[in-house]
């Protein structure tokens, strides 16, 4: 099939960020949440450059391909940034109207800066290290993601010393130590770089400071390690992270005032094109505005949230027998994540539990999950943890956890060479009177209590032996104990998942060809795999109704005559990050529901260890059915993808806000007193 049948994945990704950016302008998001969405877009686009643009630029360097695409992406990105800063100006102004001053311009902040002089002298100045360039001082390796001030200098006339002279110096802005925004008085915020810009000339004795410009580099962040030849992945990855500051620079952002001479020095030394230099109208790194969200104590300016509620079914002294009774499905963040952590905590102390096995992709600091695993290991349980060291951007944190767990006596492994372990699975092996029982938790989201408050994900508990057998096989595979044999109920990538998805899509096409009802609903983060897309096109041609709920990248073009007329694509962007992968197949009237850790992306289906599990329990499937139905009816957060690749927002109707209707639906399934109070609130801000 020709490329015109597909939307380019990177263009689709920037389109997604446009939709997130629209949240920053949405009336029903309160002011500080709007600021937060700006921060999210800044963070997402940083990642876009670190990974996608880096890859495309590498390809371009090698094969001279992608020239047009790179230009197109740069143009779209510039438009996005313009829009972002237009909104930032608007939000800053509105904050000012609310009595919150955020200085975005150095010259207007002078009075507040003066208030911070003693703080600067006592705390900040001692940690500053100017790095100057000169004949014996080469251009420094500037670390990706950090802000530097480029100071242009001229030696004062009449200096006769023989000390080496310099014209350019760099100073790192130590926002990791002090935070980005200083607060000289309540609700007044001054970016840290303004302070340094103001006071730092004093440290350059014998020089006249001609200009000081904040800059920020983004480097290629793809840590590809040739694992086949690596004996110790942990130390190899540590070394790679330490060398990250030497990777190719893919973007440079700066604010006005950068001289042509310095700009050309930067491009020359970083081998960067001028097209990848972005001049911004005011402060850099809007992702740091997330800090303001937590620093500003104004609940009236933040979206009100309904607290996650603790599911009634877990209010029991014997969590094991509850799980043994039936499959349990939870939908976070509406359902609290506590049951998952408590299940682990109980398992860690339960005398009957022999072994706990778990995958860890991303986890949070002070994680209850990891603490429970450590306790279990200390209690003499066999604890095996498959830590994915290569979880992008979390590599450093995962290395720390891996070491902690090893110290506690857990058996820590780093998955299979060449395949990232993305499956979310927890297996508790318990010796009971009747024999061994395997308790399984499988999920669409990471074992991360913090993101579980912001991401919509499915948690699934069961003690059915077939799931236990599949979980065992997964862990045996990941820990190098066994090659896979036959999966009982689950499908795993890169072994059977792709084939199973294709099989189910084709099965619907067969039903449609026979004139029977055929319907597919796939809800995921990204749809990027061409084989899946082509098979969906074929199914559409056969007459299958296909409803896709794809939050992010979607390369499928819906509504193409004769190709995808029966396909709709919607994207839901709102209070929480849509993260659950739920796959529904009508199956001739015997509906099947699956949840998965995998999106329909080639990397997930071919280069990662992923797990897809069926939900077969009546309550569980009903819950998933309702979630999908409520999202299909959403008229508040839903964007519809058109065949030209553009997204249009569905005309708003607050009654049909799926984040709210899902919360209400879940609450109705609980005994009333449990949630009445919690539902009186409205919404919570979250990452998109």
């Amino acid at each position: 099939m020709s490329d015109s049948l597909y939307i380019h994945r990177d263009i689709s990704l920037l389109e997604f960020n446009k939709r997130v950016l629209a949240e920053a302008e949405r009336d029903n998001n309160r002011l500080l949440d709007r600021l937060k969405f700006l921060a999210i877009v800044a963070s997402n686009t940083e990642e876009f450059f670190m990974v996608r643009m880096a890859a495309l630029k590498k390809q371009h360097t090698i094969s001279q391909q992608n020239e047009e695409l790179l230009d197109e992406l740069r143009t779209r990105y510039r438009a996005l940034v313009d829009e972002q800063y237009r909104m930032f100006a608007d939000i800053s102004k509105k904050m000012s109207d609310e009595g919150i001053t955020l200085y975005t311009d150095y010259s207007s902040a002078l009075r507040s800066i003066e208030q911070l002089e003693s703080f600067f002298m006592q705390d900040v100045l001692p940690v500053l290290t100017p790095i100057s360039i000169g004949p014996t001082h080469p251009f420094p390796h500037l670390v990706s993601g950090r802000m530097y001030l480029v100071v242009s200098l001229r030696a004062e006339n009449g200096r006769t010393d023989k000390i080496e002279k310099t014209t350019v110096s760099f100073i790192e802005v130590p926002s990791k130590i002090f935070g980005r925004f200083m607060c000289p008085e309540k609700n007044v915020f001054v970016p840290l770089e303004f302070l340094i810009m103001h006071f730092v000339p004093a440290i350059y004795n014998g020089y006249i400071v001609q200009s000081i410009v904040p800059i920020h580099f983004t480097r290629d962040a793809d840590l590809s390690i040739e694992e086949e030849n690596v004996t110790d992945l942990l130390s190899e990855l540590e070394t790679s992270i330490k060398r990250m500051h030497t990777r190719n620079v893919v973007r440079c952002m700066y604010t006005g005032g950068l001289s042509e001479q310095v700009a050309s020095l930067l491009t020359k030394k970083t081998m960067l094109n001028f097209e990848d230099m972005y001049e911004l109208p005011c402060i850099l790194l809007l992702q740091d505005c997330m800090e303001l969200y937590s620093k500003i104590d104004r609940s009236d300016l933040k979206n009100q949230c309904s607290e996650p509620f603790y599911p009634h079914i877990f209010k029991t002294k014997d969590i094991f027998s509850r799980i043994a009774d039936r499959q349990i499905v939870l939908y976070h963040p509406f359902h609290s994540y506590r049951p998952v952590v408590e299940f682990l905590e109980i398992a860690a102390d339960d005398p009957g539990v022999l072994a706990i096995k778990q995958t860890l992709y991303r986890s949070n600091t002070d994680s209850g999950v990891i603490n429970a695993l450590i306790r279990a290991a200390e209690n003499g349980k066999h604890v095996s943890v498959v830590v994915e060291l290569k979880a992008r951007f979390d590599e450093r944190r995962n290395i720390e956890w891996a070491k902690k767990l090893e110290e506690a006596g857990a058996h820590v492994v780093y998955g299979l060479a060449g395949l990232k372990t993305h499956a979310k699975c927890l297996l508790v092996v318990r010796k009971e009177k009747k024999g061994i029982v395997k308790y399984v938790h499988m999920a669409t989201g990471n074992y991360n209590e913090r993101t579980a408050e912001l991401y919509c994900d499915v948690s699934f508990f069961t003690a059915e032996p077939s799931y236990g057998a599949d979980a065992s096989m997964l862990f045996n595979l990941l820990t190098g104990f066994s090659y896979p044999t036959e999966w009982h109920v689950c499908a795993a990538a890169p072994f059977t998942l792709r084939a199973r998805l294709l099989q189910y899509i084709r099965r619907e096409a067969d039903y449609a060809a026979k004139g029977m009802t055929a319907h597919i609903i796939l809800k995921m983060n990204s749809l990027e795999d061409k084989e899946i897309v082509d098979t969906l096109y074929e199914a559409s041609k056969a007459g299958v109704r296909i409803d896709l709920i794809v939050r992010g990248i979607c390369i499928l073009r819906p509504g193409l005559p004769g190709i995808s007329e029966t396909i709709t694509v919607n994207s839901i962007i709102g209070s929480f990050l849509e993260h659950a992968r739920i796959y529904f197949f009508h199956n001739g009237g015997n509906p099947e529901y699956y949840c998965a850790s995998a999106d329909c992306m080639t990397r997930n289906l071919d280069r990662r260890i992923e797990l897809m599990f069926p939900v077969t329990d009546k309550d569980g499937t009903e819950l998933l059915r309702e979630i999908l139905a409520l999202q299909a009816d959403d008229r508040e957060n839903r964007w519809k993808l058109h065949s030209d690749g553009s997204y249009k927002k569905i005309s708003p109707d607050k009654k049909n806000d799926s984040f709210r209707t899902i919360a209400v639906m879940l609450a109705k399934r609980e005994p009333q007193k449990n949630t009445a109070k919690q539902l009186s609130g409205k919404k919570k801000g979250g990452k998109s």
């Binding site: 022999l354 072994a355 066999h382 095996s384 058996h411 092996v429 010796k431 009177k433 009747k434 024999g435 061994i436 395997k438 032996p465 057998a469 065992s472 096989m473 045996n476 820990t479 190098g480 104990f481 066994s482 090659y483 044999t485 036959e486």
Partner: protein, 507 residues
Amino acid sequence: MNKKRSGAIAAIIDIGSHSVKMTIAQGEQTRMTVLEDAWVPVAVGTDTFEKGAVSNTTLAELITILSRFKSLAESYDVKDMSVFATTGIREASNSDIVIERIRLETGLEVRLLDAIEEASILYSGAERSVGGLIKDSKNPALILSLGGGSTQTIIRRFGKVTASDSHSIGTMKMADYLQQQPKILHALFEKNAGRFLLPLSILNASYRIGTLVIINDDIQAYLKTKKVKKHTSGVYVCDSGDFISFAKDILAGYLATSDVSATCVSAFLTGAAVMNVSQADKVLIPDISLSKAYLSTILLGRHGGAALFEKIIKNSAQSLCKKYGSNLEHAERVAGFSEVIFNSLKDHYSLSRNDRLYLETAALLHNVGYFIGSSDHHKHTAHIIENSEIAGLSRKEMQIIAHIARYHTKSAPKSTHPEFMRLDAADRVTVTRVASFLRIADKLDTLSKPVVDSIRCVFDGENTVTLQISMKKNAYEMFDMVASDVRKNADMFTGFFGLELQIERLV
């Protein structure tokens, strides 16, 4: 192997010719639940069959895998763990070193499973899963266990094992045939098929069989990937046409793309060749493996309980008896008398069920040596038994039975008998103890016509055993002669148990 209590967990590690497998399972009443089923490929067989010994690299790999398997078993708190190895290590010239290195580095004791024991375990497993599917007809069923390094065959007719055999050729060695021209390749597989079907010649003039049962991992795995439907009992059932066309497709696929393993191709071609030669109607492929079958015998006891298993052994022994033209009626009478005497002392001396099994088998076979010659027939008997196979008995057990049968007459065991002295001390005691019953029983039926109608044996609980003999009508006058023969041959019995034997005529 005694059945464990319900809920007991056991682990088996099977070091095969091309992979190491571990199964952890728990017994639940009459069924077994598999908790872990792990496997990792290791080329033990390639080393042994090509170079004669297991290489250091392979051994290191093997030790790593075994350590991991041990750790996995420990996570289930497994107390009952067995490790066995088959041809791949059994035939390696450095098998002792391999076993010792494994013991030192992992603490695991590897037991070398002999071919006959392998066959008996597999038979037990096969009977459990396919027993009900084999239609009994005049054409027997052939159970073909195709391993990487060896092949076991069991002939089953009317629910009874009638013959078993082992061959030191498996799918790994046969994979070499795949380099030949198609015509030669098929001829080589058919030649092997003929070898596997040879025991049928004692049952019928042709090689014809009704059902072929194939136990082979590669075939099972292939059928799984092809989503071939299983019978409700969890067994793949194919008619001969389907199976042969599978084999053709696999060979074509292998020659074109090599996307299936050579051992899988040779397993299918062997099955197809056996079907061609034997004209079997259908093939059954049970989802069993040596390790699962072994585990089920540990957790659930041998299929159908010990009684059924003993019956299978008895059937095999009867077939062997007939094969060597021995007088089965006499053998069965001797077996019956032996049992009566044995039972009288069984409780007092805590005699085991195995003792009784050995005694019965030896009784059925004690005269097969006449096939070679009447002079020293007891020694010929021992030779034939030692070199035969009975499904359900290990090589070592066959040696014990051979010696029991050898000492049914003539000299009692002596330290000057080198074959006897090569047995372990415990086995020598077993032979002496069990043969002492047989020597008495045999003398109750030495005449051309049976004269003893029945016997009773009464032990007073202290020092006297009274053998009460009921003579057949018209044979009362023979009592004294019989009693005299029995007394002469009771030397081992009285010597071993320190009992006095009184003989009375029961009127």
